[in-house]
Amino acid sequence: MDQAKLAAALAAASSARRPAEGVHLLQDVPGGPDAVAAVDGGNALAIRCPSCRSLVLRPGAAVKSLEHTALALPSISRADGGAATPAPFVWSVADMMRFENIGFSKPLPGDSLGGDAGLQIERYLACADCDLGPLGCSGHLAAGGGAAKTLLIFGDRVAYEAART
C-alpha cells in the first residue's frame, strides 16, 4: 500500500524535518483512520500536502467515497519506482473551485491509462505549492456521466490536520 511506502519515506526523512503540530498521515490520525470523515461523509479534518503541508481542502469540502478504489495511480514515493497503487478510499470533490490549493497535470495520453471500469483518468492532481503527486486524479465517468468531471483525492496520499479548538 502506498501509505506504508509514504510513511517509510517520511520516517527516513531527516529528523530535522518534523511534521507540523497536529498534522498526521492517515494511519496516525488521532482516533483512527475513520476519524477523518464526519457523520455526513464530509472530511472532518483539513486535508494537506503530506510534504509541504499546503492546504488542499478545508473541512467539509469533499465527500468520502469507496467508489473507484480499484483505480491505481503511480506511487509518490521514488522507492516504489512509480508502481501504481490503489486507495483505501477517496475524497470526491464536486468542483475544482472547492479546492484551496491544487495543481492539475497536463492531460494524460488517452490510451495509456486504464483507470477502472467506471472512470477514465484525464489528469493527475498534485500539490499546488510543491508539485508533489499524484495526490489524486481527475476523470470522467466512462458511461452515463456526460461531461461531468470527477475529482478524486486518494485518502492515503494526503495528511490530515486535527481540528483546532
Partner: protein
C-alpha cells in the same frame, strides 16, 4: 451529540473573488517555477519522490491586503512550441504575467510576440499585465543579458507593471502575484460580473439570457 459537519467552514465566505491569471512566455523562462513555494520546510525532499508532474493549471488561494482571493493560474508550458494557444485559454482572464529570462535576450525580445497574441485574443483591454524578468539571481554569476532598466523601459512603453524575480531565491515572486491581484481588485470593471466580462461561459444565446437575469448589483 456529534458536532455538525464542518461544511459551514468549507464554503467560500471568506474568499473575496476568484480571478483567472495566465502565465505566458517562452519555454525555459521559469514560468512554472514561479508557481512553486520554495521552502526548506519540506517533509519529503525531491530525491525521495517520483519525478514531478508537469502542471497545466492550478487553483491557489492568495492573501492580499488581508483579503483572500482564489486564483486559477494557467501555465502555457508545452503549448507555446506550437503557438496554438486558443482563445479559450485567454477568455475571461483578468491578469496576465508575461515572463522572460534576464539571462536570455531572445526570451525578452519575444515578449512583443506574446503581447500581439494577447491583444488578439484577450477579451478585455483592461486585463492587468505584468512583465516579469525572472532569474534575476543570474546577476551573481554574470549571466545577465537584459539590464533591469531595459525591462522597466519596455514595461513602461507597454503600460504594464514590471518586476524582477528569482524563483530560485523566491525574490519578488510573491510580490509579483500580489501586485497583479491588487491591480485587478482596483479595476472592478474587470471582474465584477457583466455580460462582456464573464469567464468560463461560451458566448451563446443561453449565456446571454442567463446574464440578463442576473442581479445588476
Amino acid at each position: 451529540m456529534a458536532q455538525p459537519p464542518a461544511a459551514a467552514s468549507s464554503d467560500s465566505r471568506d474568499i473575496e473573488a476568484t480571478f483567472k491569471l495566465l502565465l505566458i512566455g517562452d519555454s525555459g523562462t521559469g514560468k512554472s517555477s514561479l508557481l512553486l513555494r520554495f521552502t526548506d520546510d519540506m517533509w519529503l525532499q525531491p530525491d525521495e519522490v517520483s519525478a514531478t508532474i508537469g502542471v497545466d493549471f492550478k487553483v491557489k488561494v492568495v492573501e492580499v491586503n488581508s483579503k483572500k482571493y482564489k486564483l486559477t493560474i494557467w501555465d502555457t508550458a508545452g503549448q507555446e512550441r506550437f503557438r496554438t494557444l486558443t482563445s479559450s485559454y485567454y477568455r475571461g482572464a483578468q491578469g496576465v504575467i508575461l515572463v522572460y529570462d534576464v539571462s536570455n535576450r531572445s526570451s525578452f525580445e519575444h515578449l512583443q510576440t506574446w503581447f500581439n497574441e494577447l491583444d488578439t485574443y484577450s477579451s478585455s483591454g483592461l486585463v492587468v499585465k505584468m512583465i516579469v524578468g525572472n532569474k534575476s539571481d543570474k546577476d551573481v554569476s554574470g549571466g545577465r543579458e537584459v539590464p533591469r532598466k531595459e525591462g522597466e523601459a519596455f514595461a513602461k512603453s507597454m503600460g504594464t507593471l514590471f518586476i524582477e524575480t528569482s524563483a530560485k531565491t523566491t525574490y519578488g515572486v510573491r510580490d509579483a502575484f500580489a501586485e497583479v491581484v491588487h491591480k485587478i481588485v482596483e479595476t472592478p470593471a474587470l471582474w465584477q460580473r457583466s455580460p462582456a466580462q464573464r469567464s468560463n461561459v461560451s458566448l451563446n444565446a443561453e449565456s446571454a439570457s442567463d446574464s440578463s437575469s442576473m442581479c445588476a448589483c
